[in-house]
Amino acid sequence: MSPAISIRDLSKTYESGFQALRSVTLDIAPGEIFALLGSNGAGKTTLIGIACGILNASSGTVAIEGHDTVSDYRAARSRVGLVPQELTTDAFETVWATVSFSRGLFGRPRNPALIERVLRDLSLWDKRDAKILTLSGGMKRRVLIAKALSHEPTILFLDEPTAGVDVELRRDMWRLVRDLRERGVTVVLTTHYIEEAEEMADRVGVIRGGELILVEEKTRLMHRLGGKKLTLQLQEPLREVPAGLASERLSLSADGRELVYSYDAQAERPGITRLLDGLLAAGIGFADLRTEQSTLEDIFVAVVHGDDAR
């Protein structure tokens, strides 16, 4: 199947000389949920801006379902919905008017039934006649989503959809994204809440300094980079790791009260039994133990700060 979004050698240098993107190449499959992770200023919003036609690329191309976003912009843009990061809405329009306006702007005929469904899905139906300036920040965010969905896009860009929203809206948002996926909509979201990518995404891309430094399926990424840790709280502090047990995977905490063993849970022989047997043989007792799985956040921090977790 041809990709929903195909980005080729995309670079962007702003007039100030700031290079926001460096030769990014990326394909996103239809129906996929793709999370773009990166710190502030990494180039996430620039990438989305170019894909949606808000910014000009310095070089490279973006194609939406095979339609070039510059030479065939009508076909490309009519397939795309964009929820921007900033809460940029009209103030004096009603919710109903602004969402209907968006549908028209994207070249679709009036369809009150569809607008009603979109508003109901986003819990905005009761507010349909309210002026936007009377709405809370969370409600405005919903309005922006409704506007982006009003023309039935097959690709939705969500730029930091849950920045500064409450827990309830965040849950709603996650549910919405899953519903969209069931309808076959491709979703690209940027976030710096790792939890969000972990919750929703099929694939994750990490962008740093304008470069796409990693693209991988979320589960494989977590598997490959995400080890587990077993921490044993000792009854008596140790001065050093017992000679018979010494390995690069075992370390002793500074106060000598904890032994930390790193292992790969997927491995055939993680070596836990051998460790525990060894401790028993050496007469080292432990009071408690816990295991931790590294999260996408740990992986992200490791990747972004350059010390590759591999």
């Binding site: 843009r77 968006s102 702007l105 070249g107």
Partner: protein
Amino acid sequence: MNLHAIAAIYLFEMARTGRTLLQSVVSPVLSTALYFVVFGSAIGSRMAEVEGVSYGAFLVPGLIMLSLLTQSISNASFAIYFPKFVGTIFEHLSAPVSGFEITFSYVAAAATKSLILGLIILATSWFFVPVRIDHPGFMVLFLVLTCVTFSLFGFIIGIWADGFEKLQIVPLLVVTPLTFLGGSFYSIDMLPPFWRSVSLLNPVLYLVSGFRWSFYGLADVGVGLSLAMTAAFLLLDIAVVAWIFRTGYRLKK
């Protein structure tokens, strides 16, 4: 052609006019009525007729032009500046609409407002002075051409402006003086020869002159020249807008 988008923007703008009826229509009508009272009735009664037309009636085309120019520019410039200012322009830029479609819908809406305003002022003037229209076809032609040309000019200013000050500067410092010195209140025949020649450099003179000719058959310059100058300004505007959308000037980084 994305007709749904054109309709959406046009209706959005007209709805905005409806919300701001007081400032878009009532205030220009009021200020024009004041001109009629002061210059037409109070002072005009002591002034000589201009080539057989009472001074009050002579003023009508010039005053309509004055309102049309300032209102067309301010309507269109504000209409496109405001989405840039609050950021909602992102939606226009990400939508499957061409620069032509965006320009057309904003300019059509601004021109419609100005046209309605011009007709209201014309109707108002009937209450104060005896108005006569010799060439109604040309009158409408000048009215429409002026509304479109100056809405387009306002649109360009709205895109160029990156602050509220710039938005105001052209109408206040350029257009208002040109209108006052463009024969809105007098015939340039009343000027000494030197200033008469200088006046011929003023583009607004050609508009006012042509428009007044369509009322009373009086003109400072030939009506053909008036039409040609208006058309030339319109074409210049179109060229600038085409360049703006080709380069993304002040719209896309």
